[in-house]
Symmetry: C2
Subunit: 221 residues, 2 copies
Amino acid sequence: MGETLEGTIAFRVVGALRDDIVSMVLKPGDVISESDIAARYGVSRQPVREAFIRLAQQGLLLIRPKRATVVKKISPDGVRQSRFIRESIEVEIIRRVATDPKPETGQILDDLIADQEAASSANDSRRFHKLDELFHRTLARLAGVEYAWQLIDDHKMQLDRVRYLTLGVSSSQRAIAEHKQIAKAVSKGDVVAAEAAMRAHLARAEVLLSQTIEDFPDYFE
Amino acid sequence: MGETLEGTIAFRVVGALRDDIVSMVLKPGDVISESDIAARYGVSRQPVREAFIRLAQQGLLLIRPKRATVVKKISPDGVRQSRFIRESIEVEIIRRVATDPKPETGQILDDLIADQEAASSANDSRRFHKLDELFHRTLARLAGVEYAWQLIDDHKMQLDRVRYLTLGVSSSQRAIAEHKQIAKAVSKGDVVAAEAAMRAHLARAEVLLSQTIEDFPDYFE
DNA sequence: TTCCGCAATCTTGTATGGTAGATGCATTTT
DNA sequence: AAAATGCATCTACCATACAAGATTGCGGAA
């Protein structure tokens, strides 16, 4: 439901900063100031300030009143709750989709999985990641709650920062197998199996957090 | 996770505008401008502008680039999806709380329900509403996901605008009875019953939307 | 050496002026 | 009369200037 204005300088700054933060170019704890960013992008402080406000509301920046603005450190508890929110919504989505599967649902999901296998074979991890996200977003669309996915996407930024620190470890083969399980259960209309498969799929990445905290203690609070 | 700065003018304006919007003092479709609000509150346009940005991101305002800013009309589909999000999260919360109920859980909930009965007897609908909200927030706290409730709270603003249009129709007696059912199932650790009770509780207000759209067509898109 | 205080220098918050775009109405043209 | 056009007047966006709190580091005193 959040609206922004494309084409404005502030909008461009928001996108650039968010990319830098999620991709760890700007690291948790880094101190930035409106003046710095304004100079870096060759704009005035005003649009930068508005970008800061938006990013702070998304939990990526922490504006400290008369001191400075810092890239927010990753909160382990926040990550845990973001996962909770994601699991809550995705489980409900998969229930709805599996409860009343439309005829074309199975084919749509199978096509996406086929694309993922192609990307995996080509070792195109960027494309694979995009398709993985599309798989989940498609489920939301099939459930008629595409906005709910947008909500998950906002929270996924937190999770993506952690994932970026552990890149390479995710097994695309395993993810594909799990997607197949989910699609199969959905096609059969087996709600219980679909829910279980989705929970297992989402739970797989869980174990990495504590190890990541040990490896990068400065990035966590 | 969204942070704001207390004590600033912009923060005050955000609160004042949000209250006016949720309580329908500012009606969906109303056109407001930075200058108007700035003059009304005796401040400059700058903090008003920042308030507009925050409220737009929360889905209450629609900023139209070089035209004007309007109080966003209520989107029936948005209301539906907000309900979906709320139900997803609250159901997952009640599952967790019921799965492993702490000894003090039952007493905490019973106390809250007792307060609600007192407020109901005193016909203090404002206090009743606050306690109703506290009941749900407490469940989130007991599940260890208080931030998730904050998320629901943001979306509840959309639902509250609808509720404001239909005020008086909600039966506090019935809400209390449903809260009792939920608390009882949680205390017994009956996950299935707790989930069913929560879904029934949340579904109760559903029927009102279509009637409200007919009564106030100008407020919906 | 250690501690205290002050001032220079950061930061964000606020105010104001100027700019470009969109709208609506009056005027002109066909 | 109807359609097109130009202009007055709105709007949000951006740039700049000023204000006030917070930090830092230096210098002097104990």
